[in-house]
Symmetry: C2
C-alpha cells in the first residue's frame, strides 16, 4: 500500500538519503535498494537531474522510506534552475518553462488562481453571466495607443487577433444585461514598452459590461471588486501574499477621483514633462502613480485620445464619460472603462474619421443599426493585478508563459 | 425611488400599455406620460424597435407603471428577431449577435456558465491549479486530423495560433503536479466538417494534466467530472436543462471501455465502411456513437494516426496509451487524452519523422532535455459538452460567437 510519488532528486545526503522535490514541497527520502541508490548518487554527482517514482507509507517525520524506486529519467545536463533572471525579459520568456519549476513562480501561479476564483465568485454573486471570448474576429480594437493589431488568415480571408472584446461585450450586455469575459488579448506592443515593466504582448483581461449602467455605477462595482479580491487572497493564500508583499493593505472605497485635466496639472507640478497635445506619457503616468499610496481614479479622458467606443460627455464632448483605475507606488493602470457609444450614426462617423475599413465592422454596425443597449463596463488586467497584490517587479513574472514586448521565440 | 430599468418595447397593447423585454424576461408596462406613449406607439406601428429607460415602483402584479420614461433608441429597421436559422451555419454565424437576443440562446449561455462553474469547482476541489493559456506560440499541435494551423506574425517572426495546449500542460504538470487550462483553440477545419454538426473553427477546451498519472487514473477522473457536471447543471439550471433535454440522465461510472480495434470491428458490423488503413471515418464514428445510449470509452488508438505527444504502449507500440470518450446518440467525441511521451529522444525522433521544423519546437525540446515528468491528461470540448447536456442539434448553437467550418466574415 502507501502512496506513489514522483520526485526530482535535487541533492544527495548521507548514506542512501536524498532530497527530492515533490509537487509543492521538498522531502528527504531514504532509498532502500542499495543498487538504485548508488546509481542515483552517481548521476547526482555528475550534476544530472534524476526523476524517480517511488512508494512511501508516510510523509510524516524526518525521512520517508522509499520503496519500489524506479528511475524514470536521468537528466542529460546539469539543471539550469536558478539561472532565470526576470530583469532580462527576453531570456526570462524563453526559459519560462524553467521559471515554472522554481518555488517563487509556483507560488505566484497559486495566487493568480485564487485571484481568478475570487473575481468570478464576486461577479457571479452580482448576477453576471460569463461568456466564452473569441480570439479571432473580422475586426478588433483600433485604439491601442501605439500597439499594432495582429492578423491571421482563415479560409483565405483576413482576421484580426482580438485585442479587446469591447464590441462583443456591448452586444452581449444588450442581450443578457450583466456579462463578463475572461479574455486573452494579443497586441504587438512597441518593444520599448518592455522598459515600463508593465506591458505584455499577450495578457488576460477580465472584461465586464453592464447594460444601462453609468460610469459611476461601474466605478463603484470596480472598487468593491478590487477590495474583495484583496480580502480573498489574504484569506485564501495569505501566507504567500504576506511573504511576497508584507506591506499589502486592502484599499478602502470610495477611492480618490481626479479628472484627466487635474492629473495633467499634477504631473507638471511633479516635474514631469507633458507634451503639447496634453497627453500623459508613460513616464508621466508613472510619476502620478508613484505620487499616491492608494489606488485612485482618473476620469474624463480627452475623447480624441481614446477608442471610438467611448461615449463623449454630452456636456463637454472633448472629454469622455470614462475612467482608469491607477494603482499606487508606480504600479500604474490596472482597470479601464467607461460608458459606451451605442448610437449607429455616431459610431459610423467615428470609424470614418479613423479611416477604418467599414466592411470589416459590418456585423457590429448591423447590431448598432438594429439597436443595442447603452452600457458601461471595464477591463481588468489580471497580470497587472497579480503583480500589484504580490508586489512583483515585472509583470512578466505574473503569468506562466510570458511574452514581454520586443521578444520573439517565446513559447 | 423604485428601480431604473432598460427595456425593448416589443409590442403595443391597449391604451398606453406595452410589452417590454427587460434582461431575462418580458413585462407589461403602462407609460404614464401621454406624449411619450404616443410616440412609442407610432414607432412600434412603423415596425421600429424602441429602447426605453424607465422607473418602476414594483414588478409584481399585472402591469408595471413606468415613470420618467426616456426613449434611448428608436430602431431604424424592423427587428430581425426570429430569422436566425442554425441549420444554415454561415447565416447563423454572421447573425450571432441577433441569436444572443433570443431567449433560447440566452438560456444556453446560462447553462454554459453553470457548466464552467461546475468544472472549475470540481477540479479545484481535486487539488488542480488553473493556469492562463497562451493563444499564440512558436508552435502548436501538428496532429489535427486534416485541420490546418493558423499563423500570425509578431515582430516579423512567424507564430502559430494555439490549437492545443498539450505541450504547455506537460511542462506545467512537471512543475505543479495537477493543472488545467481553459483554452480557446483555433483550427481551420475542412469546410465539409460543417456537415458533422460538431466542429467549430474556434472552440474551448478544458485541458487537464496530472504528473505521474496513468491513463486509467485520468479516465476515472474524467468519468467523475462528467457525472458531477451533469448533476450540477440539473441542480443549478435544471429548469432549462429539462426544458431543452427532458430525457437527460446522468451516466453511471464506470463507463463501457472498448479498444479501437474492437470499435473498428463493431463499425463494420454496423454496416459502415472502414477504409483500408483501418482508420474510422467521421461517419464511422457517428455510427458507433449512435449505437450506444451511454457515454463509452474507446482506448488504444493506432499510434500512427495520433499526435506525437502520446505515449506508445510499451507492450504493443502500434497502439497508444490513450483514450477518447464518445457521447452516445450520435453526439460523438467529447474528451480525448492519454499518457504523454516525455522522453527527449523519442519526441525528437517523432518530430523528425513528421518533418516538423525542429527550431520552432526548441523550447519544448529544451524542456524535455532537462527532463519533464511523465504525465497523463485530457481535453474536454466545452461546446460539445454543452450541446450534449442540452440536446442541441448543432454545436454552433452552444457558443455565443460561433465560427462554423467554412464560414468567413463571422464576428
Amino acid at each position: 500500500m502507501g502512496v506513489e510519488l514522483l520526485g526530482w532528486v535535487v541533492a544527495a545526503g548521507r548514506g542512501n538519503t536524498f532530497v527530492a522535490r515533490i509537487p509543492g514541497r521538498e522531502i528527504k527520502v531514504k532509498i532502500l535498494n542499495q543498487g538504485v541508490a548508488k546509481s542515483i548518487s552517481n548521476a547526482v554527482a555528475r550534476g544530472s537531474e534524476v526523476l524517480i517514482k517511488f512508494r512511501v507509507e508516510s510523509l510524516n517525520g524526518g525521512v520517508a522510506k522509499a520503496h519500489d524506486v524506479r528511475v524514470l529519467h536521468s537528466g542529460m545536463s546539469p539543471p539550469t534552475y536558478g539561472s532565470v533572471d526576470p530583469s532580462k525579459p527576453g531570456e526570462f520568456a524563453l526559459k519560462s518553462f524553467i521559471a515554472l519549476r522554481l518555488p517563487k513562480y509556483q507560488k505566484i501561479i497559486k495566487v493568480q488562481h485564487a485571484i481568478l476564483r475570487s473575481l468570478r465568485r464576486f461577479l457571479d454573486g452580482e448576477g453576471f453571466t460569463e461568456l466564452l471570448p473569441p480570439v479571432i474576429s473580422t475586426v478588433s480594437d483600433p485604439g491601442l495607443r501605439g500597439a499594432r493589431r495582429l492578423r491571421t488568415r482563415l479560409y483565405g480571408s483576413t482576421y484580426e487577433l482580438v485585442a479587446s472584446v469591447t464590441m462583443f461585450k456591448q452586444v452581449a450586455a444588450t442581450a443578457l444585461g450583466k456579462v463578463y469575459f475572461i479574455s486573452r488579448n494579443v497586441r504587438e506592443e512597441p518593444p520599448e514598452n518592455a522598459a515600463t515593466w508593465r506591458h505584455l504582448v499577450e495578457f488576460t483581461q477580465l472584461s465586464v459590461e453592464c447594460a444601462g449602467a453609468s460610469m459611476e455605477d461601474m466605478m463603484e462595482l470596480g472598487e468593491r471588486l478590487l477590495c474583495k479580491v484583496c480580502v480573498d487572497v489574504l484569506s485564501e493564500v495569505g501566507d504567500i501574499v504576506r511573504e511576497f508583499n508584507p506591506g499589502l493593505r486592502c484599499p478602502t472605497p470610495p477611492f480618490r477621483r481626479i479628472t484627466y485635466s487635474e492629473a495633467v496639472r499634477l504631473v507638471r507640478k511633479l516635474g514631469e514633462r507633458v507634451p503639447k497635445d496634453g497627453e500623459l506619457t508613460q513616464k508621466g503616468e508613472e510619476a502620478l502613480s508613484k505620487h499616491f499610496d492608494e489606488p485612485f481614479w482618473v476620469v474624463n479622458y480627452p475623447s480624441r485620445s481614446r477608442s471610438f467606443y467611448f461615449l463623449q460627455d454630452p456636456k463637454n464632448p472633448n472629454f469622455n464619460r470614462d475612467f482608469n483605475l491607477i494603482l499606487p507606488l508606480g504600479y500604474g493602470e490596472v482597470m479601464d472603462g467607461g460608458e459606451r457609444e451605442y448610437r449607429y450614426e455616431r459610431v459610423l462617423a467615428k470609424l470614418k474619421e479613423l479611416g477604418e475599413p467599414l466592411e470589416r465592422y459590418s456585423w457590429f454596425l448591423e447590431a448598432l443599426r438594429i439597436g443595442i443597449s447603452p452600457s458601461a463596463g471595464f477591463g481588468v488586467g489580471i497580470e497587472r493585478l497579480t503583480r500589484y497584490l504580490l508586489g512583483l517587479k515585472y509583470v512578466w513574472e505574473a503569468t506562466p508563459f510570458p511574452k514581454p514586448p520586443g521578444v520573439v521565440g517565446a513559447p
